[in-house]
């Protein structure tokens, strides 16, 4: 078929564009996710920069409150849904099939669909800036502020519908990765022989597919209230708007574990490699990850301690929240145990991984302080919470993700990122980050409220706010260093070879960058750290693990040619995403509305009909295209 022919022999620039538009290769999709997410990360950072410019001095009116509200709302939404989650997805895509010895994910076209729908949602969300204003009610969008009475414009609708699209993308990806990890492991790779990154991805995927339906329902309820005058959050009809907060945080708390567990998985891969030691306490780390995933469902109302749930509810959620610190602590001790006695090599990836541990401990400690509900009564809605959030999400997730970038960039591109620039990037990040967010602890406890565009000059907060803004500029410098390193190394960096780090897991057993089919022959796995065992057979005792405990003698599989079937590229996933995007815009504009009056907007209705029809027809096209691909 023409698409496949072009894919294997792209000639013109447009051929190359077509290859990327129709790719179903997990490695390319991973790169698409990574690049797109990083651009959104820069966008979210710009939104933060503007806020910090406004807050640099007291009583400034450089950015008026109405704009400031949109900045912090979009900064949070962008960083969480358009930066951290898709950056994690980039690693899931690039690495998971390689680490389990597979040729691709279980459903390659569904994988592509997830990426295009994410892109559609991200673009849709940000068009709100130009189409009447963005969300201004905080990234968690509490009711009744998000109702028509207080928010007649379309910013909230853009947010709600975009998030529904993003949820569809994430849920599809979650389903895909669960099936991939459960069902497509190489022979001999039992669950307890999987790398920890694979385990964390599995837990995160379960969290995604169970938590996103809850917020999808909340968003539908909000959207229907605003578009059609339903009463879900209508106080005058007798509704309790706290319902929004509950539904949001029932999703929202598992969501923060979705944000941190991938980075924890990355760190669990990087530490053993650069400490030249196996991961300490593998089973403890795995079970802690699973516990965190399960217990994450029991703590959500700690985001609502000041809402008036009553002492019984507050106490119960305090207890559950304190308890969830235990498995987190277990992981940290096991990472330290991995470093202990190791022969540590401070490559940039390792610096970021160790930085992750240190910063995440700080973030976790402030989190523990919030867990105690009377203390939280003081801390809620102050910069103390902002400090906690950023220590765990930036000091945690982002540092972990950078560790992953330095670690796996050579695998994806065949070149090493420059170490000198890398170390400069790390230290600028470390200094800038702490300068920006450490003072927020003090300001918060001193009472500086969050989400306010300015503060009085005589509160005693001026110095720290200035320091924080300086910190942001240092972070900006760090990002410029990174980008320079990224582009220069991509073009002319040192050749990496298959295994530049002398690492332990299967992705390093194949060339860098990997061929389309990943493995010439699917490996037979005999234990944990499967590649290490291949390199140093019987040199280090490897726990047999799992049900299949015998050691197999070295075997040669599929000698000669077992036929390798790679899936064909396809444009159907992209087309379905386009259809959903059109329908989404229609839903945003479906009615002319004001509280009490709702007139159908024919343009919006038309967009819904066209979009749904387009998506449905494309789905049929998708079904008709055979899943199995051409032989190599």
């Amino acid at each position: 078929m023409a698409t496949a022919a072009i894919a294997h022999n792209p000639v013109t620039f447009w051929d190359r564009v077509w290859v990327w538009l129709t790719t179903v290769d997990h490695k390319r999709i991973g790169i698409l996710y990574g690049v797109t997410a990083f651009l959104f990360f820069l966008l979210g950072g710009t939104e933060a920069l503007f806020m910090r410019l406004q807050l640099m001095r007291p009583e400034q009116n450089m950015i008026p409150p109405e704009t400031f509200n949109q900045l912090f709302s979009m900064h949070g939404t962008t960083m969480i849904f358009l930066a951290i989650m898709p950056l994690s997805a980039a690693f899931f895509n690039l690495i998971i099939p390689l680490q389990i010895g597979a040729r691709d994910v279980a459903f390659p076209r569904l994988n592509a669909f997830s990426y295009w729908t994410f892109l559609a949602g991200g673009i849709m969300l940000n068009t709100s800036w130009f189409l009447g204003g963005a969300l201004n009610a905080g990234w968690f969008a509490y009711s009744p502020l998000t109702g028509l009475t207080f928010n007649p414009g379309h910013g909230v609708d853009f947010w709600a519908i975009s998030l529904i699209l993003l949820g569809i993308a994430s849920t599809a990806a979650g389903l895909n990765f669960i099936v991939t990890i459960v069902n497509m492991r190489a022979p001999g790779m039992t669950l307890t022989r999987m790398p920890v990154f694979v385990w964390m991805t599995l837990v995160v995927s379960f969290l995604i597919v169970t938590a996103f339906p809850v917020i999808t329902v909340a968003l539908i309820e909000l959207a229907f209230d605003r578009a059609f005058g339903f009463n879900f959050f209508n106080v005058t009809a007798g509704s309790n708007p706290i319902l929004w907060q509950h539904l949001f945080w029932v999703f929202g708390h598992p969501e923060v574990y979705i944000l941190i567990l991938p980075a924890m998985g990355i760190v669990s891969e990087v530490l053993p490699t650069f400490a030249r030691k196996p991961l300490f306490g593998y089973m403890f780390i795995v079970f802690s990850g699973i516990s965190i995933g399960i217990m994450g469902w029991m703590v959500w109302a700690h985001h609502m301690f000041t809402v008036g749930m009553g002492p019984v509810a507050n106490t119960m959620f305090t207890l559950t929240t304190i308890t969830i610190a235990v498995p987190t602590g277990v992981k940290i001790f096991n990472w330290i145990g991995t470093l202990w006695g190791g022969s540590i090599e401070y490559k940039t990836a390792m610096l970021f991984a160790v930085g992750f541990i240190a910063m995440f401990i700080i973030g976790g400690l402030s989190g523990l302080m919030h867990a105690v509900s009377p203390s939280d009564a003081q801390q809620q809605d102050t910069y103390f919470i902002v400090a906690h959030i950023h220590y765990v999400l930036f000091g945690g997730s982002i540092l972990g993700i950078f560790a992953g970038i330095y670690y796996w960039f050579p695998k994806a591109t065949g070149r090493l990122l420059g170490e000198g620039m890398g170390k400069l990037h790390f230290w600028l990040t470390f200094v800038g980050f702490n300068l920006t967010f450490m003072p927020m602890h003090f300001l918060g406890l001193d009472g500086m409220p969050r989400r306010q565009s300015t503060y009085a000059a005589d509160m005693g907060w001026n110095l720290w706010n200035m320091v924080e803004t300086i910190g942001v500029f240092i972070l900006l410098a760090s990002l410029l260093v990174f980008l320079y390193n990224f582009f220069r190394s991509g073009r002319s960096g040192q050749q990496a070879g298959a295994d530049p780090w002398d690492a332990r897991t299967l992705e390093w057993a194949i060339p860098s960058p990997p061929p389309e089919h990943n493995f010439d022959t699917i490996p037979q796995v005999h234990g944990r750290d499967a590649f290490w065992e291949q390199k140093h057979p019987h040199a280090v005792p490897v726990p047999a693990g799992g049900a299949n405990g015998q050691l197999h003698p070295a075997e040669h599989h599929g000698a000669g040619h077992e036929p390798i079937h790679m899936p064909n590229p396809s444009y159907w996933p992209l087309l379905v995403s386009v259809g959903l995007c059109i329908a989404g815009y229609g839903l945003i504009y479906i009615t002319h509305r004001s509280p009490g009056a709702f007139g159908l907007n024919l343009g919006g209705l038309a967009a819904i009909v066209v979009g749904v029809a387009f998506a449905a027809i494309s789905t049929f096209g998708w079904y008709k295209q055979p899943a199995a691909g051409s032989e190599h």
Binding site: V179, N183, V209, V217, I220, F224, A237
Partner: protein
């Protein structure tokens, strides 16, 4: 590693569990969809009894009519079970007959829903009227949307079979469609019990009936 084929479907390619990827996908999706309907049901239950104005559930829900539509949907599940059994045996004509029966019953159910919605609007209950209207129409509306998607899916199977494109190698596709259809039925069992039966009893009690 290739496992012994399990009851019903050998996966096309060897898998770690011996189970087919697509069947695994459908079951996880159904687990996920439980959370979707669970949230809608939670919203309904939390708002139950809080409407400031009528119509109230016990005044307007029609148990006899809804009982019939519940029977219809249950029967449709049975029809589909028969269609899958026919397809497995290789009797494709019987398969098409039973699938068509399923579709007809599914459409009948949807007809009942439409009728009920129209009745309610006529009697003064819209999604805008009160909390009951909002939560009721949204929950049953999304269930109806799921049924509609199921009907389209089953009709597609019917037409594929007519064109000879649904042979024995596609038995899994039929199985998976059935899982979705039965799930939709099972959700209705919950809705019928919680919203209709319990709702009317509790409402009547609260009203002193």
């Amino acid at each position: 590693m290739a496992q012994a084929a399990h009851a019903g479907h050998a996966p096309e390619h060897p898998t770690s569990t011996g189970l087919d990827n697509r069947k695994l996908l459908m079951w996880i999706f159904l687990g996920s969809d439980c959370l979707f309907f669970g949230s809608l049901i939670a919203t309904y239950l939390i708002n139950y009894g809080k409407s400031l104005v009528g119509p109230y559930p016990h005044e307007i829900l029609d148990i006899p009519v809804t009982s019939v539509s519940t029977f219809v949907l249950l029967l449709s599940s049975f029809m589909f079970v028969l269609s899958l059994a026919a397809h497995t045996k290789g009797d494709y004509r019987a398969f098409r007959v039973w699938v068509l029966c399923t579709v007809v019953l599914g459409c009948t159910f949807l007809g009942f829903q439409v009728f009920e919605f129209q009745q309610f609007v006529h009697e003064g209950l819209t999604p805008r009227t009160n909390l009951f209207g909002t939560t009721f129409f949204t929950l049953t509306g999304f269930h109806g949307a799921h049924v509609t998607i199921g009907v389209v899916w089953l009709l597609s199977l019917f037409f594929l079979s007519l064109r000879g494109k649904l042979g024995p190698d596609k038995n899994l596709s039929v199985d998976i469609a059935g899982l979705y259809w039965h799930f939709v039925d099972v959700v209705w069992i919950v809705i019928f019990t919680v919203i209709y039966l319990s709702g009317v009893v509790a409402g009547a009690k609260a009203a002193g009936g």
